[in-house]
Symmetry: C2
Subunit: 217 residues, 2 copies
């Protein structure tokens, strides 16, 4: 960190706006693609063009974390990628608990990109007695009643919530109690009673569609 403040300190103090943090994974995603295409050097202009974001915005976002390129020479793709991974805490493998094994849960377990990006689904829970005990990708589907106990014992910090809307809040309360600190929520509700040190991201495809139909009038 060029300015002498560690990323961890900035994190705790919330010094970097949340919206900036949200763009870092997009920069990383683009750098990985550029690297695959054999590019060794890129620029804020090129990243901006790929992402539909202004180059000034990208430079400003990255400046929160240090100096990653030299004026006029751009960014070394591999170096910047490594730095972003470090900032986003992606050097370690993250264990993930999947709650809910319906159609969506099924699709998520088979979505290779989770493990490619080092998010390993290690636990699966469901409330359906017909599903409990089945083995999926080497993982036994566990009884949803044991969510708190097992997640706490394993020390898992990340959960993917793929349960019906009616039980989403109850399950969330259990996840929070079990020590989960990041919830990727697929239930189309805004989860409540979330402590400050727990993060939630909700994915609701209907909301995305409805945002677009506005413009179809």
């Amino acid at each position: 960190m060029a300015d002498g403040t560690s990323a961890a300190t900035k994190r705790q103090e919330g010094q970097v706006p949340d919206i900036v943090i949200g763009r870092l994974p997009l920069y990383l995603r683009t750098l990985i693609l550029l690297e695959k295409e054999g590019k060794e050097v890129t620029s804020s202009q090129e990243l901006g063009k790929q992402l539909g974001i202004s180059s000034a915005q990208i430079r400003k976002d990255l400046s929160h974390f240090g100096e990653f390129g030299k004026q006029g020479t751009g960014y070394a793709v591999s170096y910047l990628k490594g730095q972003l991974k470090e900032i986003l805490n992606l050097d370690e493998v993250w264990s993930v608990a999947l709650i809910g094994f319906g159609d969506l849960g099924h699709a998520l377990v088979h979505y290779n990109r989770f493990s490619e990006r080092r998010f390993n689904i290690e636990l699966i829970f469901d409330a359906d007695p017909d599903k409990i005990g089945h083995v999926i990708n080497g993982i036994i589907i566990q009884n949803a009643e044991k969510i708190e106990e097992i997640i706490k014992a394993k020390g898992i910090k990340i959960a993917i919530l793929a349960v019906p809307i009616e039980v989403a809040q109850t399950v969330t309360d259990k996840l929070v109690n079990a020590g989960v600190r990041a919830i990727l929520n697929y239930a189309p509700i805004t989860l409540k009673n979330i402590p400050q040190d727990v993060k939630v991201q909700t994915i609701d495809p209907i909301a995305h569609l409805q945002k677009m139909t506005y413009y179809l009038g």
Copy 2:
């Protein structure tokens, strides 16, 4: 519209910030939940509490479109719901084309909320000869080579893209040529060459997870 400017005019002129439009579906989602709970009247305070958004923000967002409540008496849930549906063009049934019938496409076809919210998946395309011709929920899986021809003939404006990253841009170009104006993109890339009157929303669960791991340091 209280100020005499139609929603359609505002839409074309882009008068309402995109970020405001993005919050309207969340207000609608919350109003539908409140209505289910039997609430007839709500307030910007209550909506804000449900959504973790300030009541001032909600009032400001809604004020772009008119006056929906009286000072001190709050909003009639059913009325505000109806108004938001009208603003977001949700009074009609939208036909949707699903491109890609892998695990994700399978989960999406079985996701009842699309049809509950009047997004009817009417076409499914895949490139796999083993899938083409199969009937899913009464819909024949069509050959991906016919995307342009069939979508154009049917006049479909909304597509869900659930194809591998390698073909996402090529398929997008075809969708745009076919007259699609809203793309819900599940491929983890930023789509390019999108005309101004075409909207894209990308859902990338990895980006959401990585945004949260930042805070797990």
